[in-house]
């Protein structure tokens, strides 16, 4: 990416004085659900985000004025739908910093994008005795598909372990990536701890052995100016619903040569060139990897979300999140019995995971909900990480553009109150 980890590593990315007032970056009024529930402190954006009115309007407008099956009709309305679909792909690719829009394949989300890579390139190229390396930080979506692939073909499945503070142990990682390694799969940012991984270092190590680099961008696309091209990874996966877009849409950006050399994923309409009785040939990119009637609504809504984020400025988005996260870490750590997990603020995004001694996260989040504070409690689809941290579950607050200092204060106060009620002493 353009500024690989600068925005994340340096606290000075936050404009001076910004910490002081803690206003939201995006007006709450832009988000109908939040506007209608002024006392809601929605702190679960790492799971899914609320939607700006502009995204909902884009969906509505599409169905009210442009809806048809793209690619398939000669009539004007179908041409309009085709153009809407095409234009959305171009806008989303541009937002992500992918210069070749045809290498952006639409999927349901990150999970499907990663499964696509595992079931096509992975099945064809990973053999018995090979190795697949993932990290201890991975979400199940970037863990189980590789574990199963390794299992299915008789390859070795290796988990690169953590060093201090929930960051990767880069020496151990380098040692894990042996010449037999065919795939290195890693998250750009952890949904469970907030850790932002050093992508450039990881990619350099993977490239030494010629491994396919697969980056789970579910927690980076929504939060930073990713610059996919400059990340120099082979595959990058993301989810629209985590970046203000509608549910059911996301994508995979993959190197053109690899997509072209790889067998297709799902088979059916739109992805074929010619269907013979016994043999079929494939269409060109991106169609080859998009079987069936495309979901036009999804890309149209997601493109509107990208426009909205662009209008805020991605540099300001990450700075804002980190400001709130730093404040939350400070306020939570001040409550006796609270342990904040993960690295110092310089190595993380807007996710704060913590435990409260003697209190189960589920009970904590239930009481927080009583105060209108929505946080996530559980294993965060990262059971392997939870095991390594020796915790059963954590409570997680995640911040986004519509959050402000008042949300942080409400969180900390509510945790303190819940502790009074629940803690053993």
């Amino acid at each position: 990416m353009n500024r690989p980890t600068v925005g994340v590593r340096s606290a000075s990315a936050a404009p001076a004085g910004f910490v002081a007032d803690h206003g939201a970056l995006a007006p709450r009024a832009d988000f109908p659900l939040l506007a209608a529930q002024p006392r809601l402190h929605y702190l679960d954006s790492a799971a899914t985000t609320q939607k700006p009115a502009s995204v909902l309007a884009a969906i509505q407008r599409y169905y009210e004025t442009e809806n048809a099956n793209p690619h398939r009709g000669a009539y004007a309305l179908s041409a309009v739908a085709t153009e809407a679909y095409h234009a959305a792909r171009v806008r989303i690719a541009k937002f992500l910093g992918a210069s070749d829009a045809e290498t952006l394949i639409f999927t349901r989300g990150t999970t499907e994008a990663l499964n696509l890579v595992a079931s096509t390139w992975g099945r064809a190229n990973v053999k018995a005795g090979d190795r697949i390396v993932v990290t201890r930080l991975e979400h199940h979506a970037n863990f189980v598909p590789w574990q199963e692939l390794a299992h299915a073909v008789g390859a070795e499945f290796v988990i690169a372990e953590l060093g201090a503070n929930g960051t990767l142990d880069m020496e151990a990682f380098a040692a894990a990536v042996t010449p037999k390694t065919k795939i290195v799969a890693f998250g750009h940012a952890s949904n469970a701890l907030g850790t932002v991984n050093p992508v450039a270092d990881i990619v350099a190590i993977a490239k030494r052995v010629g491994a396919l680099t697969v980056c789970d961008g579910a927690q980076s696309a929504p939060h930073m100016d990713v610059g996919v091209d400059s990340l120099d990874v082979d595959a990058y996966a993301f989810s629209g619903h985590k970046m203000l877009g509608p549910m059911g849409i996301g994508g995979l950006v993959m190197r053109r040569e690899i997509l072209e050399a790889t067998q297709p994923y799902q088979l059916g309409g739109d992805m074929i060139a010619h269907v013979g009785d016994q043999h079929t040939t494939w269409n060109v990119l991106p169609h080859k990897f998009e079987a069936g009637t495309p979901n036009v609504e999804g890309p149209v809504g997601l493109a509107a979300a990208c426009d909205y984020l662009t209008s805020l400025g991605m540099e300001r988005v990450i700075a804002h999140e980190r400001t709130l996260a730093a404040l939350a870490m400070e306020k939570l750590a001040a409550i006796p019995g609270v342990s904040v997990l993960g690295p110092e603020i310089a190595h993380r995004g807007g996710v704060v995971s913590f435990t409260l001694k003697g209190v189960h996260p589920h009970d904590l989040s239930q009481l927080l909900d009583g105060d209108g504070v929505c946080v996530r409690a559980g294993h965060h689809c990262a059971q392997p990480l939870m095991r390594a941290l020796g915790v059963h579950a954590t409570t997680r607050a995640s911040f986004y553009v519509y959050n402000d200092g008042a949300d942080v204060v409400a969180l900390a106060e509510s945790v303190a109150r819940a502790k009074e009620k629940l803690a053993s002493d």
């Binding site: 189960h360 009970d363 239930q366 009583g370 105060d371 409690a377 559980g378 059963h392 579950a393 629940l422």
Partner: protein
Amino acid sequence: MSAELDELYQSIILDHNRRPKNFREMEDATAKADGVNPLCGDQLTVWLKMDGDQIADVSFRGQGCAISKASASMMTQVVKGKSRTDAEQLFTDVHALVTGKPTGADVGSLKALSGVSKFPLRVKCASLAWHAMHSALQGSAAPVSTEAEGPGSAS
């Protein structure tokens, strides 16, 4: 705090959570079953010592929230000494209670669990130990899952 939350976290529940009864493994159990809530990963084990048709002893251990721990703890107190049939009936009655369809049956101190009915996602927590006990009574070896319990899950 809302009245509903106060009812969910009654002091008897919080007491059982802090100092659960029969929270131990059992060496000489005649039956045992694991219960797991897959989406949250909470997990507990219930041990039974049967004396013919009667539950001579019962204990549990595991990871869980206050609701699941208190429910398990109260369960062990109440079913000890009961017949298989009475224990199963109690499960049915408690399940009805926490899903907001009380049968009118007298469930004694277990009435403290009635607050759960206002929180559908917590039904799984409250019933986890009961499912495990039921499974142990049936002599089933496979861990039970509460996933099929309701519309979703959490913990």
